[in-house]
């Protein structure tokens, strides 16, 4: 694999890392598998694309953040106030977003090869390393902010909501509120990822977000496997693991492509990577168990 391809994979990984950070909030912290994610990623890309075409790339990113938070708010409203099961709430919002995203773009995809984007300035300044620098800066800063946030009163409340529902109300935490805050934040991050990726690759299309929740989860888990138990014990490691996992996931995908895996098979390869990553902890436990049993029978 060439250095150019590797750099591209890392750049993309740093952008997709924001999806992993979002899922770190919804899935890891709040313990909700939030399927809004797929729709929100595309929503971020769509909003961002429309604003780039109008010559406002930065405003596009800001609006995508808002749009993502709003999508998270709708899902939270459905599950905390209207009694819809969490998984279903996400699916409902995701389905609605499919139409919303088409309406935002006005067509299934938008190209803007010549337009200037939020990466243009950095690219003019640093040349070919501009995008890498900018993506690293944004993702790094958000990692730090997220790790700091999880220590605050609100952050602790969010974590307690996901960790022990029983204690929550008795500790003067309103779980409807913390769930809403968490889903808004998570989806804002996911939309930001979509917005940045659209501007990075200079196009947006209505299927960009398909499978994003699974890819994001795989990134989380790859990171946790790499960081070991530290990822669960320390806040900073947990957040860093999510980001690193996303980058590693992109490098794996790039390697598969470099090995001439047929483009049509890429979804299959992704699915295998995801299944393997998610199954890894269970497989490891099984393996340890068999090892122990074999040793026991040998010593018997």
């Amino acid at each position: 694999m060439s250095l150019l391809v590797l750099r591209g994979a890392v750049e993309q990984g740093l952008i997709y890392a924001l999806v992993a950070l979002g899922l770190h909030i919804s899935y890891r912290t709040l313990d909700i598998a939030d399927l809004t994610t797929d729709g929100t990623f595309t929503l971020g890309a769509a909003i961002s694309a429309v604003y780039v075409v109008a010559g406002q790339p930065l405003l596009g990113v800001a609006m995508a953040l808002l749009g993502g938070a709003l999508a998270g708010f709708v899902t939270a409203l459905l599950q905390t106030r209207l009694g819809v099961q969490p998984i279903l709430a996400g699916i409902i919002t995701m389905t609605a977003l499919y139409s919303v995203n088409l309406a935002v773009m006005g067509k299934p995809n938008v190209n803007f090869l010549k337009e200037s984007t939020v990466f243009t300035a950095a690219q003019e300044w640093l040349g070919e390393y501009g995008a890498l620098f900018e993506a690293a800066l944004v993702t790094g800063a958000l990692c730090v902010l997220l790790a700091l946030f999880l220590r605050t009163q609100l952050g602790l409340s969010l974590r307690a909501t996901g960790d022990n529902r029983d204690m929550v109300a008795a500790s003067s935490i309103n779980p409807a509120f913390t769930t809403t805050v968490g889903l808004c934040l998570a989806n804002a991050l996911v939309a930001l990822a979509g917005a940045l990726l659209a501007q990075y690759q200079k196009f947006a299309d209505n299927t960009m977000g398909t499978g994003m929740v699974v890819i994001g989860l795989a990134s989380l888990i790859i990171g946790e496997v790499l960081f070991g138990h530290r990822a669960r014990r320390s806040l900073v490691c947990g957040v860093a693991a999510a980001a690193v996992g996303a980058v590693v996931y992109r490098i794996i995908v790039a390697t598969a492509i470099a090995l001439h895996v047929d483009a049509k098979s890429m979804k299959l390869v992704s699915a295998v990577i995801v299944a393997a990553a998610i199954a890894a902890p269970a497989l490891r436990d099984k393996l340890l168990f068999y090892q122990k049993r074999r040793e026991a029978s040998r010593n018997a």
Partner: protein
Amino acid sequence: MPEMLELHRISKTFGAGTIDEKKAVEELSLTLAPGDFVTIIGGNGAGKSTLFNAVAGAFFVDAGRILLDGRDVTFQPEHRRANSIGRLFQDPLKGTAPHMTIEENLALAYLRTARTRSPFGTVGKKDRAFFREQLAALGLGLEDRLKSPVGLLSGGQRQALTLLMATIVTPKLLLLDEHTAALDPATAEKVLALTKRVVAERHITCMMITHNIHSALSLGNRTIMMDAGRIVLELSGEQRAGMTVDGLLDAFRARVGRRLDNDRILLSEAENA
């Protein structure tokens, strides 16, 4: 002096209109003065936990009014009331977040009720020293384990930590629902002694459900007995001071017309025998 807690004829029926209809609490009235420590005993299903849940706001009562420190909280949601009501349950796993550290659990309880109340507040050096001092007072060696996840603690340690969390900022009312029943006898004794000390030192108004009639009579300044959602017997002052376990059981039988039936009470009688 205004009363700390006033319950005016509160009622709660579960499954109203179904064949499972159950009047768990019926037209119950009770008043607690500041500093009162009331122990509560009664048979299985007498409505003791339901009474606590009504006071804490786990559900809204069907009828009646609840005043806490002079304020009507009848329709205030649970998480609001929790700012001034501390609670401990029988299950030690219910009161703490297992994957968060001791420090983080304490920080949560402290930051949510402490003076600052900013959503972005964090604990500083001073607060940490305060936590350590409070943990040391428990005498369980937890002060050196601020960074350990709570899930690694024993049931008794977790319950002691929950007690600390519930009282780290003095609550207006403390509700203890058989909070030592799931612990082994020695640990239960320790947690009970801690409870007694904390409540006395800080003059906390407290209600404690227990199946141990002996502790019901020896702790606190008032005892009530419940049956079928009502208070059937109230003891305080001299009448209470002169009461024995057998005397109380007899009094219950005289009032209700049958023996006090609580599977756990039988156990503790055997223990005391």
